[in-house]
């Protein structure tokens, strides 16, 4: 079981690094926000960019995880159409390992993407707590498992590019705005702040800000880990179950 999961993980990682289009594409959006939106936020707040980045960069990591689900879903649909998944399904591979190997790959890739985004922010002058950064990379990996679970689950149960694109388009923008990744929820009216708490992506953004600022005992950190671990377990289970109906 574990052997098959590791086999798939290593194989998929190798493929990803041979042809890293999706992971590179995935960090374009957060990096553009860092370069072209971060300074605006700093200007509006009348702060120097180096100080502003400490609260702005964590949101960019969460955005990377959020939009990663889209690429992940399309990758799975391609494997479904080309018969790759069907071929693997008729093998002695432990069925869940087929999805689990890919999900773990997404977690690893997301950690590397996060490191790149963090390095760019540091180069731009960001000051942040080093242990905080390290813990945030782990939190983002868990967030990535959650969003990969959604990507695979949607791809395997809808099996339709259009349907998947519509659902993701519909949810991605409100989830991003309500997470406070771009502009913090402290600027939001009362009702928005209440709604935001029910947005899963809100929690890693808040926890990320505390971590980057070095407030490692902030209560938002265990809350974010707990929320993400529970949700990741649910969505990954869902995606593994969706694989059962692969050809029928």
């Amino acid at each position: 079981m574990i052997r098959h999961t590791l086999l798939f993980l290593v194989y998929e990682l190798r493929n990803t690094f041979r042809n890293p289009i999706w992971p590179l594409f995935g960090i374009v959006q957060p990096v553009v926000y860092l370069l072209l939106f971060g300074p605006l936020v700093a200007g509006a707040a009348g702060q120097p960019i180096s100080a502003q980045l400490t609260s702005f960069a964590p949101g960019m990591l969460v955005i990377t995880a959020l939009f990663g689900a889209i690429g992940v879903g399309y990758g799975m649909l391609y494997e479904l159409r080309s018969g790759v998944l069907e071929r693997i399904a008729v093998s002695p591979a432990w069925r869940p390992s087929i999805v689990l190997g890919r999900t773990l790959r997404d977690g690893v890739v997301l950690m590397l993407q996060s490191v790149v985004v963090i390095v760019i922010a540091l180069v731009m002058g960001m000051r942040a707590s080093l242990p905080g950064l390290a813990i945030m990379v782990v939190l983002i990996a868990v967030t990535g498992l959650f969003s990969s679970g959604i990507g695979y689950g949607l791809a395997l149960s809808l099996r339709d590019e259009n349907g998947m694109a519509q659902i993701m388009q519909f949810f991605a923008l409100p989830v991003m705005l309500l997470s406070g990744a771009l502009l913090p929820m402290t600027l939001a009216p009362e009702w928005m702040r209440k709604v935001a708490v029910f947005n899963p992506m809100y929690h890693p953004v808040v926890a990320g800000r505390a971590l980057f600022a070095g407030n490692l005992t902030d209560v938002s950190i265990p809350i974010a880990f707990a929320v993400m671990l529970v949700l990741a377990t649910l969505t990954v289970t869902w995606s593994v179950r969706s694989l059962r109906r692969i050809a029928g």
Partner: protein, 317 residues
Amino acid sequence: MIIDAHGLRKTFTTRSRKGTQTVEAVRGVDLEVGKGEIFGVLGPNGAGKTTTIRMLATLITPDAGTATVAGHDLLKAPGAVRRNLGYVSQAGGVEESTTPRAQIIMAAKIHSVPDPAGATADVLARFDLTEIADRPGRTLSGGQKRRVAIALGLVHSPPLLFLDEPTTGLDPQNRANLWDRIRQLRELGTSVLLSTHYLDEADALCDRLVIVDHGLVVAEGTPGALKREVADDVVTLRLDEPDRAAETLKPYARETRVDDDVLRVYVDDGEHTLPTLLRALEEQRLALSSIALDRATLDDVFLAKTGRSLRDTGAAA
């Protein structure tokens, strides 16, 4: 017996805005495939070939029926069935961005083949793929991709191989080449179940076959026996009064069929019967516009069993 299946059934239900639709894809199929046989499933588009193979390959759970595949019960021990199976889907399942070698080594590892790299090199050499083994899948031609797909299904030397429409989309030369390779499998003792909608393929390649239509087996046997059951030869006539001509020729024929202005007369020993037929038509003053004498084909079998020609379904060679 490497496959022994009885009463396999599968009905699909699809929900859409227009309401629920059900398709009876497979309506009770029996298959008995002997060890070492190349066994064909011949039928037009939508006949239920892929659905049948997917059920036997553990991908779809049948609604009804039982099967023993490669010595294991399909429903009770799907894992054991999968270990003894090679499966090449209609889509092929060759990855675009990875090389054939990497893909085949991975398949060998999943099957716990003792020497994955060695087994991969062997199967690549057997299918003349060594030279292109290290190019990304997307750069391969259709025929090369097909061969990689089959190599992927064979690297663990399974006793039973499923090939779903292995030659669809290939040019005649590539098809003949692939037929030879499939025949070689018989020499190695691998049993093969293949589906096809090509009449000539089923005829040239298969030891035995079933003809399926609308989810049912309509005929079963060796290609020779199936054809003999209909007749040795077919005389195809075009004339103005096919019905009267059919009546006239009936005494000399095993069977006659009229489709529009075409009359098919099934006879044994066509070379010697033909002059007799012509004389009979002459006596009745029936004017011919054309006449042809051919050996009976599997299409004639299909026509006899279903009343339709496989060629007319737009699926034939």
